[in-house]
């Protein structure tokens, strides 16, 4: 894989140009504490050293609410169009790139791949951006701290603390032909990184690795969950959980949805799908008002079981990328990594 060099000014020119031909979304600060992927306005407004957005990029391929089709009073049905232009997401961190790869696997795994997902995915181009972990990140433990594929271009910023340095450069890895095309004719003119610069890139990688403060052994996760299904820990979590569901909504890989029909006064209707979460009481409620998981403790246990055991058994790896959103977003401080450490410490022989 070729690694090219691009200066801050060249990056700005490129994004300015790109925003004229595609729908370009970038990480933007919303107030001091949170970030969101929002439409590109000016280069100066985007935040290249952000840690995580509230919602992951899944909102672009699997939106919180999506009209599947409209039905006119005459009975004719139509599917809403998507914009013709590509949607380029700039600044996606490795955990989120891996999150989209998991969504790709999931939404194409049925007899009929999810058409609505596929058509949004087909217009999505992903430009990655390196990052430094904060106290909630455990992507390294989940083997998602780097992305071998799943991006069209990837920008490495080996000096993220200094955004305004005049001679600042980024190193660009080309992931796909589309990435090459996106850079337009620049790919041929940008210089390749010098050996000593590649050395600096490696040093940065090592610095990044030593910056993680959270650690867990994912190989024991499924066993820990399976063995401890009757553990009192789940009841304690049930006492702490507000069932607000934001851990699921903010999860890059949670895919549960509800489908409902809406009506209008003229007799038309729409079929809509929207995000749902297994933490909600109505999620496992069925006809006759029976509920398979009436208690919060059962629901929170189900979420952990599904992500680390159920999904792993069906798809070969857990549906968790260690992005830390569930930890950061939980109002009552339920901590994914601590839950596992507690389960593992109690009953499994683990090296501390």
């Amino acid at each position: 894989m070729r690694v090219l060099k691009i200066s801050r000014d060249q990056l700005k020119k490129w994004l300015d140009e790109l925003s004229g031909t595609v729908d370009l979304y970038v990480p933007m600060p919303a107030g001091k504490q949170v970030h969101r992927f929002e439409p590109y306005t000016t280069f100066e407004e985007l935040d290249l050293s952000y840690t995580r957005t509230v919602l992951p990029p899944k909102k672009f391929v699997f939106p919180p609410e999506e009209v599947l089709f409209n039905r006119a009073p005459s009975g004719e049905t139509t599917v809403p169009d998507l914009p013709a232009r590509d949607l380029v997401l700039f600044g996606v961190h490795p955990c989120d790139i891996n999150g989209i790869r998991i969504l790709d696997t999931f939404f194409s795994s049925f007899d009929k791949p999810d058409w609505y997902y596929q058509r949004r995915r087909a217009r999505l181009r992903i430009v990655g951006l390196s990052c430094l972990p904060d106290e909630h990140c455990f992507c390294r433990s989940m083997d998602c701290d780097s992305a071998a594929s799943g991006f069209d271009l990837f920008f490495h910023d080996i000096d993220p603390e200094n955004q305004d340095r005049g001679e600042k450069v980024f190193f660009v890895s080309l992931g796909t032909v589309e990435g090459d095309i996106m850079l337009a004719d620049r790919a041929d003119t940008l210089p390749e990184a010098e050996p000593e610069e590649l050395e600096a890139l490696l040093e940065y990688t090592e610095r990044r690795e030593s910056a993680y403060t959270l650690d867990l052994d994912p190989s024991i996760l499924p066993q820990a969950i399976k063995l401890h299904q009757a553990d009192p820990l789940w009841d304690r979590l049930g006492e702490q959980c507000l069932a607000c569901g934001v851990c699921s909504l903010g999860c890059p890989t949670c895919t549960c949805f509800n489908i409902r029909d809406t009506n209008d006064l003229e007799g038309g209707s729409s079929r809509v799908r929207n995000w749902d979460a297994c933490l909600y009481r109505d999620f496992a409620r069925v006809a006759g008002d029976h509920n398979f998981r009436p208690h919060r403790s059962e629901r929170i246990q189900n979420r952990y079981y599904h992500k680390q055991v159920g999904f792993a058994e069906a798809f070969g790896k857990p549906s968790c990328v260690g992005c830390g959103r569930c930890i950061k977003l939980c109002p009552t401080g339920i901590h994914f990594v601590e839950v596992f450490q507690s389960l593992a410490r109690e009953r499994l022989p683990v090296d501390e």
């Binding site: 949170v34 509230v54 607000c244 007799g267 979460a277 909600y280 109505d282 919060r296 109002p331």
Partner: protein, 255 residues
Amino acid sequence: MDQLTVGIFGLTGCAGDQLTLLNCEDELLAIAGKVRMKSFKMASTTEVGGEIEVAFVEGSVCQPRDLALLREVRGRAHNLVALGTCACFGGVAAMDQRLDPEILKEKVYGTEGDLFAIQRARPLSTYVDVDFMLPGCPVEKEQLLETISCLLKGSFPEIPTTPVCADCRIRENVCLVIEKEQVCCGALTRGGCKARCPSLDVPCLGCRGPVEDAYYRAEMEFLAARGVTREVVRKEMLLFSTPAGMGERLEKEFD
């Protein structure tokens, strides 16, 4: 169904939910074409008795005459919809069930209060069967229109049962609890409002009423752990987020 016979009735309340219907300016003609209004005092003095397909009832039961009207309406209506948080859960009037209604009356009306009788505020379901609850303070216009549209097809709509936190996170707001250490009732409160208040940096007061399994203890514990006094949390919760009658339980749990 081509035309639905409807009555709109108000018990003790601010009439804000009835006003929401009148505020559907762009849709009023369409509604008028689909709905035969038998009673809507706020809009017309014409009153037609007899059977109706749907009764929308706003407000809580706070007076004997509220109860008489509610029972009469229930007897006439095939479907009874509780319109707004007061009708669904008791709302502000039912805020603190420890207080003696007679003392409240005297505080507000003085000796003029002798002219009418009151009773402890309760939601409609305390006294009659309610077929559908549409909470909100006031109700969301879209959900009201959706309810009418569904009733025209002989069904009820599916309105959100998820908490305000869901709406809030989907809008990617700053969490007022986590990032600003405020008392926000979003986790206890029914969503579907697109998190109007938290989106403007105003904590949720719980005006849409409680989610079905609101967990008061956990909310109390974690806010208390952040240094908010229990009395402050209790006051916020009692405003809207607790259904009538929950007050005593909150006392038992937290004092």
